[in-house]
Symmetry: C2
Subunit: 409 residues, 2 copies
Amino acid sequence: MVTINQQRLLDDLSTLRTFGQAGTGVIRPSLSDIDMEARFWLRDRMADAGLNAVVDGVANVVGQSPNNGPALLIGSHSDTQPTGGWLDGALGVIYGLEVARALLEDPDTAHLAVDAVAWCDEEATYTSCLGSKAFCGVLTNDDYVATNAAGESVTNALRRLGLDGRSHERVDPDRHIGYLEAHIEQGPHLEANAQRIGVVTSIVGIGGMTIGFTGEQNHAGTTPMALRKDAGVALFEFATRARERIARVASESSVWTFGSAQLLPGAESIIPGRAELLLQFRDPSAAVLDAIDTEMRALADEMTSEGPVTVAVDETRERIAPTVMDGALQEHIAGAATTHAPGVWTHMPSAAGHDPMVIAHHLPCAMLFIPSIGGVSHDFAEDTSPEDIALGCQVLADAAVSILTSAAQ
Amino acid sequence: MVTINQQRLLDDLSTLRTFGQAGTGVIRPSLSDIDMEARFWLRDRMADAGLNAVVDGVANVVGQSPNNGPALLIGSHSDTQPTGGWLDGALGVIYGLEVARALLEDPDTAHLAVDAVAWCDEEATYTSCLGSKAFCGVLTNDDYVATNAAGESVTNALRRLGLDGRSHERVDPDRHIGYLEAHIEQGPHLEANAQRIGVVTSIVGIGGMTIGFTGEQNHAGTTPMALRKDAGVALFEFATRARERIARVASESSVWTFGSAQLLPGAESIIPGRAELLLQFRDPSAAVLDAIDTEMRALADEMTSEGPVTVAVDETRERIAPTVMDGALQEHIAGAATTHAPGVWTHMPSAAGHDPMVIAHHLPCAMLFIPSIGGVSHDFAEDTSPEDIALGCQVLADAAVSILTSAAQ
């Protein structure tokens, strides 16, 4: 048992919020000037805590404990969405800092090694999970040439900031025994069920496709209804029928979204000859993702044979496999939650993506969720009560002590 | 009875086609350099025919008969769609020229007055029916400031061409007794029913609206299906239900088209908080247009009360009222059709818009249709057989003689 410093935790979160603050929200996209200012501030806080802290060649902030391993890596990302909230990423970063320093301050735990981290570009301003990919040694050339909305590549952004992009911290199999990340839920489940802590079982996998509809472009005045091959009408019908078809094979945790639809050429007086629909679906089970994919292809084939419009899966989006969290690490978090939040914690999947999707291939990972007020995230209105923020950090600190203590035995 | 010169008619159509020719199609948008070249060529052909011909201040080509009135105005527009066919507009222009000169050449009809015309910008490269609006004195400041896709205004386009935009030909109530326009059908009805001539009863009216869907933008991963207020899903449902609802009140001649649909913000991982749908509907009856409009508003209200997304008619597009063709003029065309195309002509509405929508408020109007092969128009593939082209012009010439002769009695 160790006791975190709640006031220091909340103060550091408030200070980090000032970097890029915009009303109640934060605008701190990765590799912007304000993002770098925040990273140097984080490095200094880590150093103040007694960690050996650096901003590395890909702008990860890594604060290594002066203690020998086994070490736990704890953190999250400090970059935000283009118009982001103040807790997404930031919460888990300051938790890592607070857990590391709370353990070092307590004579009973001062010998345990927690390395704190703030990853770069989880939010994909340039390329998703840039920092954790680099740390795990899986950054590719595609990542280096990925560009932000202004067309600047990762390589050029790092160069602009005086970073070389190549010399950076790496996972150390002889030292690191696992990675923990805390995060706001970004959904309504905890709040709706009056739970205060979520122990994440897995991060859902993501599948997706673009569906193309090919009919016949024609004059919207002179073409009788019966002779039309209207790609837009087919799109509306597909989307409507898809809801019932996906529901047949979906699990309780499945979600699916048509995020974009386009009728071409998109003019008032022209029957659309072509239409395109973007579908994304998520589930903790790879089998369910496969079933949804199969169902959509079957529906496309059916509609094509019914006519008059040809429906086809144009492009399959890169599948992100579900990421299962480490069972043993989950048990340590569950134990700490039972101590500090008896009866108000639960196991749950993460419906959003996080750096452990990368890291879990290299280190055992676990995640802890705290409630999001109203389930709101990626929005200036994102918030969580100070009591929940403090509770989550205390649970994480105790879980870390429990993990490191049992690892040393 | 007068006999048109079929070879001259086809030759002039072929020559006009060379201005802006692109394969089998034509690219001759209004007020382009090639459009102006074609207009000066038309002026010269009209002058050759003995007409007093000018390109006026808004680029209309008007060839006035040397005879006193009563005069019939006959023509169409010589501009094309961005990628147009060779007959849309051009056919009616050359018919006007051929009818005027055939009558002047025949001693029996040489005293009759036919004024030939080629209107500017019926196709709305800048503003629809620019030329006929100017001729009827109803051009507004909105028309002068209207821009083409490149952002050039009508005023600037005319100035670029050395035209002042103000001094132009006008309808003369003491001279003009009516306006006739021939056109390809741009639809499949004549061909499908083995008819060769259509006597137009009315030009359909056009109604339209944009329908807005307001839900709640949210994270496509973390928001459970049951809690979503997905504006896109509501749009798909509205469009699907609208088909059945419109069919309840539509006539045999009704057509309706969703030409554009947008989900906002339109991203893979974001539940659309907003969506917009564009609906256009056409019918020869104003009452049917009203009924479709009412039905759509009722559906929007129903869906809003069903929830969870608010559906509202955001914007009512400017209603174009149905334009009824003059009954007496129709009878003269029908009489000529009975002579030259017995059993293979029909009365029919025009499903596309034409300059008579403007002119009919100032002069009695009538239109004659000839078949479009495959119903295709506004496309390089647009075509009609030479026999049908010749027949239509002969019917129009006889109708003109009949109208002018009876007017003089």
